[in-house]
């Protein structure tokens, strides 16, 4: 028993090293540039792929060939990071946090297709490292020497980084910028150079982490997202911006993984995210993190007034609804499927917008509630033998209950921490669906979830879905303009003032969270009957990001934005999938371009444009503030 514990501890420590390198880079980049770099996993993946190519070319058996390949791969990715920073990120530092995130996710998509184009879809098995090919026997179990090497790499890198940040001028600047970057700028430091070098350095660390994994596991196209979610966990558990915290968290997560496989093989993923949730509830800013200075709304434009739809907008809305109602009589049959899907995703986007816009709570994991709605419907049909309508009514409650539980934790945090906790909960939901095979069917999903006979035609189901989605979206809209919606916005704008006028901000946000989860559950349930099956991918990160994209594309400050965004995004994606095999690349590039061109989203930009035109007209001058002499 003791030797097993020993072996698993070593395993955990070995896997912690790469995780640490990636998370550390992510953490430093966030600290200095305040950008949550979703593309960090992509740098990790590129590092691994490049190392594979270079090592194979330089000669894997040769010591210089192998280690040279690993280092050159890291350097190339660092250079790529510098280019990305100069070409893309530099233009969007002033944009709201979420738009930056969006742009980096655009990069994720681009890199995925670049890697697919260059290296193909097959897994690449790397060579073993020269000099570390053998085993040693430790306490009775065989242990690869490369694992031991990795265990040592972690603390060595920690020491080097410590030296770099404490003893060099560059490191001091990075630490200073992490604490107060305006002040560093005011002191005459070349910020552009600092930001570029930090980004390149972080990217290089991630790539090194990827390259070092080469002898351990096969290089594949899914490395990016699986690594980024774990790196998020490590950074958040360790505390944003803290290198030591990142190491401690990486070790903690690595060891939990290793032991989780022994003790609870079915719920290892759940275990990791549970630990994160527990840490965040006890220490909301991570093990070594500190409360961030300034509010979440520190930059980005001031929120505009939320006005009810003008007559013209209402007219446009009604016209759009009429088009949707009449469409089946005009368009070809297969278009009905597209329109059904669009309606469902419009509701999904609207539900996410409800908590993101008025609630100010950005969710990276909204797909969880969509997926739980879908699974709720599927489980109700499969295990409870419910017909379609009762199942549709039952399913959102499963999502709502999840929102009730997860939301309780999430509303205790704000900003990036809240977003990452939502991601963690979504991964728990995903892992449960994926690993609890007896109930959910695991990877194979649940099949045969078909609509009732009366609704089985494409036409009837389209109208059913449209009716439910329109009703739900309108209901969300009513709530936004009702006192509750105002109270929610009040809590977002100024929690201090909201509490001082008797508003229980946390409880309001919690209720909003539950409402958003419930509405996403409705969309998920409709989707389950639409597709006839449910799979864990319904809850996976890409689906959550789809939702974010729709909301942000449309514009988070406007109520109609998410619907426009859903149509724009789904339309774009559908056309791209048809047009090219590399649709991800084109989609990613369009996202990056859109963020650079329209930092307020489509509808937000249109509104700002209309506003500017109105102001250009000769308006009565705003009266100067009158003196108080009364």
């Amino acid at each position: 028993m003791i030797d097993l514990i020993f072996a698993q501890t070593l395993n955990g420590l070995a896997s912690a090293s790469s995780l640490f390198l990636v998370a550390c880079g992510l953490s430093i980049i966030f600290g200095v540039t305040r950008i949550v770099n979703f593309a960090h996993g992509s740098f990790y993946m590129l590092g691994a792929y490049l190392a594979f190519t270079l090592v194979t070319r330089f000669g894997p058996a040769d010591v210089f060939g192998f280690w040279g390949g690993v280092l050159v791969a890291a350097l190339i990715v660092a250079a790529l990071g510098a280019i990305v920073e100069i070409v893309i990120l530099r233009r969007i530092y002033q944009a709201p946090e979420l738009f930056q995130l969006l742009a980096t996710f655009g990069l994720v998509l681009m890199v995925q297709d670049i890697a697919l184009g260059i290296w193909g879809p097959e897994d690449k098995l790397g060579p073993r490292a020269p000099g570390f090919k053998s085993f040693v026997v430790l306490m009775g179990s065989r242990f690869p020497t490369y694992e031991l090497f990795l265990i040592v790499v972690g603390p060595i890198m920690l020491g080097l980084l410590w030296f770099l940040f404490q003893k060099t001028r560059w490191g001091t600047l990075v630490r200073a910028a992490t604490q107060d970057r305006e002040m560093v700028g005011a002191l005459g430091v070349n910020q552009r150079l600092l930001f570029t070098s930090v980004f390149a350095f972080g990217a290089g660390l991630a790539a090194l982490g990827g390259a070092l994994q080469l002898p351990r596991e096969a290089v594949n196209l899914h490395m990016d997202l699986s690594m980024i979610s774990e790196a998020f966990v490590v950074v958040v558990v360790g505390g944003l911006g803290s290198v030591t915290g990142a190491y401690l968290a990486a070790v903690l997560i690595g060891i939990i993984h290793a032991f989780g496989i022994l003790v609870f093989p079915k719920i290892t993923l759940v275990l990791v995210f549970l630990v994160m949730a527990v840490v965040l509830v006890i220490k909301p800013y991570g093990l070594m993190g500190e409360r961030p200075v300034g509010s979440a709304h520190a930059h980005g434009p001031v929120e505009p007034l939320l006005l009810p739809a003008s007559f013209n907008i209402k007219l446009i809305g009604l016209a759009a609804l009429a088009v949707l109602l009449l469409a089946p009589f005009v368009v070809a049959d297969h278009w009905l499927l597209t329109l059904t899907e669009l309606s469902i995703f419009a509701l999904f986007a609207a539900s996410l917008h409800f908590m993101m816009g008025p609630g100010g709570m950005a969710s990276f994991g909204h797909a969880a509630y969509f997926g739980l709605g879908a699974y709720g419907a599927a489980l109700a049909v499969k295990w409870l033998g419910m017909p379609m309508l009762p199942a549709l009514a039952f399913a959102p409650f499963l999502a709502g209950i999840a929102g009730f539980v997860f939301g309780w934790f999430c509303v205790r945090l704000s900003g990036v921490y809240l977003a990452m906790l939502t991601l963690a909960f979504a991964q728990i939901a995903w892992a449960t669906a994926f690993q609890w095979v007896d109930v959910t069917g695991g990877d194979n999903g649940i099949l045969g979830i078909w609509p009732a006979p009366w609704a089985s035609s494409k036409l009837v189901y389209y109208y059913l879905a449209l009716a439910i989605c329109v009703a739900a979206i309108l209901a969300l809209r009513v709530v936004i303009f009702a006192p509750f919606g105002y109270a929610l916005r009040a809590g977002r704008d100024s929690p201090l003032r909201a509490e001082a006028i008797g508003l229980p901000v946390m409880r309001i946000q919690w209720i909003a969270f539950i409402i958003a989860a419930f509405a996403a559950g409705i969309a998920g349930a409709l989707f389950a009957f639409f597709k006839g099956s449910v799979f864990p991918t319904y809850m996976a990160i890409p689906r959550s990001v789809d939702g974010l994209l729709m909301v942000l594309l449309g514009g988070v400050q406007t109520v109609s934005g998410p619907i426009v965004g859903a149509f724009a995004f789904m339309g774009l994606q559908e056309q791209l999938v048809k047009a090219t095999m590399y649709w991800r690349f084109v989609l990613g590039a369009s996202i990056v371009l859109l963020v650079i061109l329209f930092p307020r989203g489509l509808v937000g930009t249109a509104l700002a444009f209309a506003e500017r035109r109105r102001e250009a007209e000769p308006a009565p001058p705003v009266t100067a503030a009158p003196e108080l002499a009364r």
Binding site: E303, A500, I501, I508
Partner: protein, 253 residues
């Protein structure tokens, strides 16, 4: 006449520093009580304990005959305590009128209402409040774009929306032009007398303090070193020592 607010032996330490040390005083309805003292004297700490923003270590706060020590800010507000902040806190995405409506909605217990437009609620009442603070002509403007002096007046309207018996104002005139300061406090005094609201405010501007307070408390290093009417405090040797004879008439910081 029983005081609206009575503070008994209030105390708070941060580490080894006694930020507020054994402070007792009371405020009566319709009166303006100024709390002054040099930077770091414990004014804001004292304030934050009064409305529950900060838990106190020792002592008791009695409002309207009932102990409110340990209550949350929103519970204190429900009992009838309004508050303004040193740095104005308003809802930037709402119009001036909506800010006041929000307070009225909360006061009416309609926060959880999911139907019906918030915009249409308590309009007349909100406009009456805005008229009183001279902001009615800007009711439709967004709070995010207002001048600072105007924001302060919006905050005042929000703070008196729940018909409070006590108004706590932390540096109400900070960041305003000198003429605006006197005007704002004149307005506050008028409202306080008219509605019988007890006002406790902290202030750095001595012109404001001497012109508009019925009584003055002087705090230094957490301790109450003097209290009384303007002339008494002005001539108090302990107060003079703290201020080194300066600042008493200049109105500067």
């Amino acid at each position: 006449m029983t005081p609206v607010l009575e503070v008994r032996n209030l105390g708070k330490s941060f580490g080894g520093v006694r930020a507020v040390d054994d402070v007792s005083f009371s405020v009566e309805a319709g009166k303006l009580l100024a709390l002054i003292g040099p930077n770091g004297a414990g004014k804001t700490t004292c304030f934050n304990m009064l409305n529950g923003q900060l838990p106190s270590d020792r002592g008791e706060v009695i409002f309207d005959g009932r102990t409110i020590t340990g209550l949350k800010p929103r519970e204190v507000w429900r009992l009838g305590v309004g508050r303004t902040f040193q740095i104005t806190a308003t809802f930037a995405s709402m119009s001036v009128r909506e800010n006041v409506q929000m307070a009225l909605i909360s006061h009416a217990g309609e926060t959880w209402t999911l139907f019906g437009r918030a915009k249409d609620r308590h309009v007349a009442e909100a406009d009456a409040l805005l008229k009183q603070v001279g902001m009615l002509d800007q009711a439709e403007r967004a709070c995010g774009v207002l001048a600072y002096g105007d924001l302060k007046r919006v905050e005042l309207a929000v703070a008196i929306a729940n018909k409070p018996k006590l108004l706590l104002m932390d540096e109400p005139t900070a960041g305003m032009a000198p003429r605006e300061r006197i005007a704002l406090m004149a307005l506050t005094a008028e409202i306080a007398r008219e509605r019988g609201i007890a006002v406790l405010f902290t202030e750095h501007d001595m012109d404001v303090v001497f012109a508009h307070s019925d009584a003055i408390l002087v705090l230094d290093r957490g301790k109450l070193i003097a209290k009384g009417r303007a002339e008494e405090v002005r001539n108090d040797p302990a107060v003079r020592a703290v201020y080194l004879g300066s600042g008493a008439t200049s109105g500067g910081h």
